[in-house]
Symmetry: C2
C-alpha cells in the first residue's frame, strides 16, 4: 500500500444559483473592491489515503465523491493526485 495525497474539488454546476457567492460579491463591493464580475464558492478536500496504485486511489476518491463529498445533482467534482 502506498500513501497518496489527493485534492478533491467540488463546485456548483454551471447555471446553479450560488447565493453564498453572491453574498460575498456584495460584501466585497461594500468594502470598496471594484471590477468583480462574479464569485462562486466551492469546497476543497485535502485527502491522505493509502491505496495499492494511483488508479485505485483515483477510483476510491471518485466513489467518495459520488457517495458523500459531492451532491451530484447540483455539483461537479474533480479529483487530482498531488503526490
Amino acid at each position: 500500500m502506498t500513501q497518496f495525497s489527493a485534492r478533491v474539488t467540488v463546485r456548483l454546476k454551471f447555471g446553479v444559483l450560488d447565493p453564498q457567492g453572491k453574498a460575498i460579491e456584495g460584501s466585497l463591493n461594500a468594502l470598496g473592491f471594484e471590477g468583480i464580475a462574479s464569485i462562486r464558492q466551492g469546497k476543497i478536500f485535502d485527502v491522505q489515503l493509502e491505496a495499492t496504485s494511483k488508479s485505485a486511489a483515483k477510483d476510491t476518491l471518485k466513489a467518495m465523491c459520488e457517495k458523500l463529498l459531492a451532491n451530484t445533482v447540483i455539483e461537479d467534482y474533480s479529483v487530482e493526485l498531488v503526490a
Copy 2:
C-alpha cells in the same frame, strides 16, 4: 482593463483542528472506505475580475483575502490566476 479568472484557495493552517474534516473522515469510514489517513476541508473561490494588469489583479485578490475571504489567524490563502 482586462478580464482575469482567478482561483483563491483558503485552507486551515497546519495544526489547527478541523472538526468538519474529522466528521467527514468518520462518515467515510462508516460507509466502508478504508485507508484514509486524514481529510481536511477548505474553501475555493472562483473569481472573475477586471484589472489593469496581472500583478494588479493579484494584489486585489490578496487584499480581498486579507479583508474578507480568509481568517488569517487560523487560515492560509493562495491566489492563482488561471486565465
